[in-house]
């Protein structure tokens, strides 16, 4: 099983998550996507299982507090999945999306003791040029969790360059995937490597 963890299930990142997952499912992998939603249900779609995670905290101080507060909800979902339904050893790889998914995915890595791959569509410096405390805080979290990832997969050449230059991720732990097919090939390569 490949466990994908994402904070975004709509918009650009959401599309990427769905396309990557579909591509992996087409190649015969069992994919489960954990994402925030209004309930704790599971939905099967295009060969992929989407496990909703109901988010308890609705107040919105900022994105950092929202994502970290959701850790308890993601822990609840993982606990239910891997203490009750699946053997944790069935999970072979965790794929997280952006710093938000990577923060939540780090919990899965710690819990399941499986490698964490982080897909980076953009980093904070590509989204904003401002130097607010919130932005600096996000950069700090990106730095922390990109380094916590076993492999960083940039989804554009610009993102790749920034991951290397601004975040100092070693080049042997960073790759580029310009399409879901590229991403699936990288996943296969990781899973088939000794």
């Amino acid at each position: 099983m490949i466990l994908a963890v994402t904070w975004h299930i709509d918009g650009v990142i959401g599309s990427l998550v769905r396309e990557d997952s579909r591509e992996l499912a087409n190649r015969g992998y069992d994919v489960m996507v954990l994402h925030p939603w209004h309930d704790d249900a599971s939905v099967r779609e295009g060969g992929v299982t989407y496990r909703h995670v109901a988010i308890t905290i609705k107040s919105n101080v900022n994105i950092v507090t929202s994502v970290i507060s959701a850790l308890g909800d993601f822990a609840r979902a993982m606990s239910e999945l891997f203490h009750e339904r699946y053997d944790p050893s069935q999970v072979r790889l965790i794929i997280s999306y952006e710093w938000t998914g990577s923060l939540l995915g780090s919990l899965a890595k710690k819990f399941l003791e499986r490698p964490l791959m982080t897909s980076v569509h953009s980093v904070e410096s590509m989204r904003t040029s401002e130097k607010s405390l919130l932005s600096l805080s996000i950069r700090g979290l990106e730095m922390r969790f990109l380094h916590y990832s076993d492999l960083v997969v940039a989804r554009s050449k610009e993102a790749y360059a920034r991951v290397l230059a601004e975040y100092r991720v070693p080049s042997d732990r960073a790759k580029v995937a310009l399409s879901p097919k590229d991403m699936a090939s990288i996943v296969m390569e990781v899973l088939e490597s000794p």
Binding site: I57, V64, T65, I68, A75, E84, E113, S137
Partner: protein
């Protein structure tokens, strides 16, 4: 495993001392306690003294745009450190500041979560949650109580607050009072000499101890003092504590022309506080909101009669006429007459002081509080052992 954002030497409020003495009391009963807390300059990351282990994680080294994101980010560090610990039987969290770590660990480890809620945001803000941060804290408190197997509060007043504001079911709440460490150190000092630092020999000393914030009622104390001074002059009022109201109150006293009858000490160290408790004649705690009222216990522990407002935890600590006097919260006139009663009737005041010291020993020592907490742990673990909610997959070392 206990989670607390403060633990000595990091002392911000009363929580640090509470967790310190409780963890010690539990460890003395044979419980293996690990406290995960924030770091402090020049303290080791890990300390172990017999079966009490302190693990400190970084509370710095990351940027935060606001208080909540700082709190949540250090919770990330706590989760990481806590997952390194083995054989956790239960998780005990203190207040919302470690809620994220507590709830996350509960689910990952599938171990019971116990929470002590020392006060609520709703109570602290007197029911008005203007800002998103306040609403966030309130929401996190609700979630923490919801996720907990049992919730501990320090008074029946707080139990009511949790039932009303956080909708916690009554049978999920245990009332275990805060403990105090009576000033065991009987310092050898000359009482008369210390007394003279604050008052003339012919003056009685009336003491207020508390933060200078609205909820502690320092303004009620000053008004009652001015009222009493209009009837008699043989009294000196000493106010211990810092806070935003201090300057305004000092201005008010100055303008009254009775500046020489007041002494604002600001923050004082424990030794000086102990001296003040020893030399005062009456200690007064006129809080308008008070979940517990540990300062009243401190005064009682050294045998002083107290006057408290009939609210919150203070109501439960003081039995009117037995170990102190109670007055309606905010009632300046009643407060000034109650203080006067204890100044005039010295025999009655001394008897109340003795009763108070005895009551502290019987009900509020850390030994008693540790025992009650230990019994609650046992009860929770018994319930847990017969509950199907458990870690099923024992494939990982930490489970």
């Amino acid at each position: 495993m206990m989670l607390s954002w403060e633990y000595p030497p990091r002392i911000v409020g009363g929580l640090a001392r509470h967790v310190y003495w409780l963890s010690k009391a539990l460890a003395q009963r044979g419980v293996e306690v690990t406290v995960v807390t924030l770091d402090y300059p020049e303290t080791p990351r890990v300390e172990q003294e017999k079966n009490l282990k302190i693990v400190r994680v970084a509370g710095h080294g990351f940027t935060s745009s606001d208080f909540a994101s700082w709190v949540h980010q250090f919770n990330l560090n706590m989760i990481e450190a806590a997952l390194e610990e083995e054989d956790v039987s239960l998780i005990h969290v203190h207040d919302w500041l470690t809620a994220t770590a507590g709830i996350t660990l509960k689910h990952l480890l599938r171990k019971p979560l116990i929470t002590t809620i020392h006060s609520t945001e709703y109570g602290r803000r007197r029911g008005v949650l203007h800002e998103e941060l306040q609403r966030h804290i309130h929401e996190v408190e609700w979630w923490l109580a919801y996720e907990s197997w049992r919730v501990i509060v320090c008074s029946h007043y707080m139990k009511g607050e949790l039932m009303r504001f956080l909708r916690v079911p009554e049978d999920k709440i245990s009332v275990i009072p805060n403990g105090i460490n009576p000033f065991e150190l009987k310092l050898q000092f000359d009482v008369r000499e210390i007394r003279r630092k604050y008052a003339d020999d012919w003056e009685k000393i009336v003491l207020f101890v508390g933060r200078m914030v609205y909820e502690k009622g320092p303004h009620v104390f000053v008004d009652a003092a001015l009222s009493l001074l209009s009837r008699r002059q043989d009294v000196k009022f000493v106010l211990v504590g810092e806070g935003p109201m201090r300057k305004d109150l000092m201005d008010k006293v100055y303008k009254s022309g009775l500046w020489h009858k007041f002494y604002f000490t600001g923050f004082v160290e424990d030794i000086e506080l102990y001296e003040l408790y020893e030399v005062c004649d009456v200690a007064v705690f006129p809080s308008l909101y008070e979940p517990f009222g540990i300062v009243a216990l401190e005064a009682m522990s050294v045998g002083k009669p107290v006057v408290v407002s009939d609210t919150g935890g203070l109501s439960e600590i003081v039995v009117d006429g037995f170990n102190g006097l109670k007055v309606p919260p905010g009632d300046v006139r009643a407060l000034s007459y109650a203080i006067e009663r204890l100044i005039v009737n010295r025999g009655m005041a001394e008897e109340m002081g003795r009763n108070g010291a005895q009551r502290v020993k019987e009900l509020y020592s850390w030994d008693v509080v540790g025992e009650k907490t230990f019994r609650l742990y046992e009860q929770v673990l018994r319930e847990y052992s017969s509950n199907p909610w458990k870690p099923k997959k024992l494939t990982r070392a930490l489970l």
